[in-house]
């Protein structure tokens, strides 16, 4: 009995040591960037050593108050709008596609799987010209909906991840429901969806985070400064705007972290716990 306890204690010790190391490795660079935005000069470049000598809230104050040229609050709400809707539509499309590809057997399915796998491999920056011209024809330049459209339309291409997840849900569950007379849609809605919480969380988090850091597409499609997303806006800041840049960059993380904490309890509630609840 005692022997096991020692072993367990040792195991716990190692576990927490690794945990601390990992957390430090992830936290430190972020903390470093974060402190830069709170430093008095607002720049990582003016530090002596790793951390600033003096702190102030000036960078953030300017970020939100001085909006004549760089309207960060507007950019932020633009991005929030785009991210929310892209995440919503994108998640629905990906989940439905993945579910269908996992559960239905139809002609051309395997072909479709092969094609979609390799479609994503095309070096994409050269296709941007085509996207731009298409969007001018759809009259979607300077329109946030244009971006939502592209992000949502592009999302299903990544369905293989979610399909892999659905492939691990036992088919016996659907069959039982089908015998009970549930339709394809009902099975999906009532039975599969509740079991898919972790993968939905993963999907929506990645789709939500995408518009926050993408600056290639919005730069291509949004010309008006007031319509910018945060990433494009930050990249358009002048050389002399370090402080705003780092403060603005750090603030992007806020909605993503909030979303994570809001969803984190679903991340682990998978099949096992779901089945118990039933």
């Amino acid at each position: 009995m005692k022997k096991i306890n020692v072993k367990k204690l040792f195991d716990n010790g190692i576990t927490y040591l690794v945990l601390l190391t990992v957390s430090f490795a992830f936290c430190f660079p972020v903390l470093w960037l974060l402190l830069a935005s709170f430093s008095k000069t607002g720049s990582i470049y003016s530090f002596d050593g790793f951390f600033p000598a003096e702190y102030s809230l000036d960078s953030f104050r300017r970020l939100f108050n001085d909006t004549v040229m760089y309207n960060y609050p507007k950019w932020f709400s633009n991005t929030l709008l785009i991210a929310v809707f892209s995440c919503l539509f994108g998640t629905i499309l990906v989940i439905m596609t993945a579910y269908t590809m996992s559960r239905f057997n139809f002609r051309g399915r395997k072909m479709l799987m092969k094609i979609t796998l390799i479609l994503g491999m095309f070096p994409s920056f050269m296709a941007m010209t085509a996207v731009y011209i298409l969007m001018t024809h759809f009259n979607l330049i300077n329109q946030h909906w244009g971006l939502v459209l592209i992000y949502s339309a592009g999302a299903p291409l990544g369905y293989l991840v979610q399909k892999g997840f659905f492939d691990t849900i036992p088919g016996s569950i659907d069959e039982a429901a089908r015998i009970d007379g549930a339709s394809g849609f009902m099975i999906f809605w009532k039975i599969i969806l509740p079991l898919s919480a972790p993968i939905i969380v993963y999907t929506s988090l990645t789709l939500f985070a995408w518009p926050w850091s993408d600056f290639i597409l919005p730069r291509l499609l949004l010309k008006d400064r007031d319509l910018y997303t945060v990433a494009v806006g930050l990249m358009s800041l002048g050389d002399d705007e370090f402080s705003r840049f780092s403060a603005g960059a750090m603030f992007i993380a806020v909605p993503i972290i909030i979303l994570y904490f809001g969803l984190s309890k679903f991340l682990i509630s998978g099949l096992a716990s779901g089945a118990v609840k039933e």
């Binding site: 596609t97 796998l117 390799i118 095309f122 993380a253 991340l267 998978g270």
Partner: protein, 432 residues
Amino acid sequence: MVLLLKNCNAKTIASMLVMGAGQLLYRQWIKGIIYLGVQAAAIIFFISQGALMIRDFITLGTVEGNAWHGTPGDNSVTMLITGLFAIIVLIIYFSLYITNIKDVYETQRLAESGKKIPGFFEELKELSDKKFYKTVLFIPILGVLIFSVLPIVFMILVAFTNFGGETVPPALVDWTGFESFRRVFSLGSFAATFLKILGWNILWAILATAFGYFGGLGLALLFNKKCVKGKAFWRAFPILAFAVPGFISLIGFRFMFAAGGPINQMIVNGGGDVVLFLGLNSTWLSRGIGLLVNTWLTLPTSMLLATGILANMNKDVFEAAGIDGAGPAKQFVSLTLPFVLFATTPVLITNFMLNFNNFGIFFFLRGGFISEGYFLASDTDLLINWLYRLSIDNNYYSLGAVISLVIFLITSIISLDVYLRSDAYKKEDIYR
């Protein structure tokens, strides 16, 4: 098909001429009108614009614009794309046309065998059940067709034109066949650099994927351990890194490792000499740092995914294994790993490809150099960076398209091969 042609009746033939006519004759009013509407819309589209789009696609324009004189002229690139769009519409039209014939033929068979012809709403119901996949896949496929396939086909077509250099709109672009291919492959100085970069590119993609993937899996398992209290809290640290946009982290890391960055300041204060981590001659040091930074960036996503997948793993199997006396290491190798690998093979492949084509990492981290023995490339450049330098810095779009095609062929062959061999493809239902 032949059977259909042999056996079809007049009503079916009517649908071959006018879409929906047969359906109307069978008194399927709503469906008939929809098909009829499709045909009418298609004809109107082609008369008003589509036909011109296809013509322009073939000629790529005949009148060169001169903005100084206010003459807009033809824009070859726009014509290439709108032409493609019209061709896609044509393909969609023909597939609907064929569906229309098949549909009416099926109705004919039902009528001939004396069964009841389903009404519109019964068929709609069918679409939410057995043919659920048709309903669901329609929108994603349309979206992917327009925003992913069309641009890629555009790119492939560009390889067969002289688009680029000085031949950009308003100048007229022409179809040139395999001329661009000939030019790329006849460059002597090209081959050596290509092979060197390809070698490093493959090594990079393997290492980067392995680090990111197994690191993420390891983290997920670590956080899943029973003894870890406050899982959501610990998991939040990698999420922090995920929440900061990648390009910003990269700019930060670049400065961290710079000659005047904080790490070097510490080294100098400690009495050491400045280390040029990302300098001109620091080939392997830069590559190593690139790998570390890339792992830092990709780990959180794969951790999230692995956590989600693990949540779905049947815990009974584990308990059974634990009873049989399997140690944690054995459990991992024989149960966890195959399960996770099964569910995430496509992710592994996708990540491999994303890393293979990881444009940003060295672009932001190290900036531009030309290394000794490389043709206009640096020793950390991946094929995509080289492609960017060759094509975008110089605007040689058609040549860039040729190189893209080559990269695409290599990556897609590797990944298709791996995918087709994997359990995820061969035995989709092994865990069902």
